[in-house]
Symmetry: C2
Subunit: 270 residues, 2 copies
């Protein structure tokens, strides 16, 4: 489609794109907004369905940035050149890099879990999009298959979650499900479920994690709801010192995910 | 000092307290602002130097909150009862719990490291106060002694860092130091320093961590500056899968701290 120019912040496409900061507009359009060189680069590399790419020549100083534009042009994407004024109405970053895009939100179905065996992470009622984003990053770095967002867990396409994921979200399958769907899955494929608890359970270092499993985590405040614990085949907790006796949820998830990865890698070496 | 009432947002103390959101005012007064039941409770429990406690009866609905006020009264602290209007000019939380305080910022000196042997964490040029806060929380939960803030690392008394620490900051010694001070310490007490790198080094799971050590971490973008690597006795990295090939700094720090704690606990059991 080549490069076209938009010079007014009141342009319809620019206005529609700004609205994507609100969940209801993301859901209505089934797209979301990404910003920055690294994440736009990841979207291109992982062949996401990119609807529009925005760039601002005055801000886009890096060679990598211009390479991305050339690549997008070759792919026939819709590329929009804006001025600083227009770009700043879209930018959320403190120091905008002059590159952004609108991408299709790729939601997976629960049956994806048996089609893609491995480690999955089920998050129940997580409110902080920053935590969700950095969990997606740790999930990718530890070789997990994807994330299951249960109950009223925050939206994976929230700008804060997207930013914190640093592009890792494009390498994770994202499933929105409810309790009944998870229960049905469990009845159908007997996937192993491990629940993380704050109270005493087996140490996360002593648990023998199967290759195919779902790690279930609740929120810091409420933990794992009782009905989810009923689905679990086993429970773990992270032994702690100190007086605060709790961890940030993303930190806790990362500690457990890297233990699982380590165990699985060690088995390969045997 | 008992309970006194302030009904105007223009009151001098309220105005001075609001200014503490800016670093220059925190530094000038050497105090900082905390908000919420849990952290004010931790400040009381750990015997911090509390200058003022603010509470708003209309918002303070929990029994625990009223117990804290009674405890503060018994300790002879300066307690200020405000209305909703005044409290809302101080509150940063989305759902204020009606309790806040101004507390002395307790900065430690670098010699504290040899007086309190154990695991210390040196952070070099960390910009995100939320990451710093959750690292303090993981440091406390893994039994670390304290945090050394090096170079232009963000301020431990930043409202976001304080909030993310969930009170754990009161159980960690906090040292502000520069490179020369760290180098002098190393020459004097030969403390073992382990540098975390993003490039290939020994796996963090295979390193043999001494009981007394400093874990040095740089920022996600820049890593550990070269002059700091010169001080290190050894290097570790976290092996990763996935394509993003990096972790959020607080997640990476937590993974390493819990490995160190696990190794040290296991040695005790031997």
């Amino acid at each position: 489609m080549g490069i076209r120019k938009i010079a007014s912040p009141a342009n319809t496409l620019i206005k529609t794109t700004r609205k994507l900061f609100l969940r209801k507009h993301r859901q209505a359009e089934n797209v979301f907004f990404i910003e920055g060189l690294r994440i736009v680069g990841e979207a291109l590399r992982t062949r996401q369905e990119i609807r529009h790419i925005f760039f601002c020549p005055e801000m886009l100083t890096s060679e990598f940035g211009h390479e991305l534009i050339a690549e997008a042009e070759q792919m026939g994407l819709d590329i929009i050149e804006t001025n600083k004024e227009v770009f700043n109405t879209l930018a959320q970053k403190e120091n905008p890099q002059g590159m952004a895009a609108v991408v299709a939100a790729r939601e997976d179905v629960i049956n994806s879990i048996d089609r893609h065996p491995g480690v999955w992470i089920g998050l129940v009622g997580i409110q902080d999009p920053g935590n969700l984003g950095s969990i997606m990053r740790s999930a990718d770095a530890s070789g997990s298959r994807g994330i299951i967002l249960l109950e009223n867990t925050t939206d994976a396409w929230h700008p804060t979650a997207v930013r914190a994921s640093m592009g890792a979200m494009f390498n994770q399958r994202i499933i929105l499900a409810d309790y009944e769907e998870l229960r049905t899955l469990k009845g159908r494929v007997a996937v192993h479920m491990v629940g993380a608890l704050s109270q005493t359970a087996q140490s996360y270092r002593r648990y023998n994690y199967p290759q195919n499993m779902i790690l279930l985590l609740g929120s810091e405040q409420k933990g794992l709801p009782q009905q989810y614990t009923v689905l679990c085949d086993g429970f773990i907790h992270i032994p702690m010192k100190g007086s605060a006796d709790s961890l940030n949820l993303a930190n806790a998830a990362s500690i457990i995910l890297f233990e699982i990865m380590y165990q699985h890698e060690r088995k390969k070496d045997d």
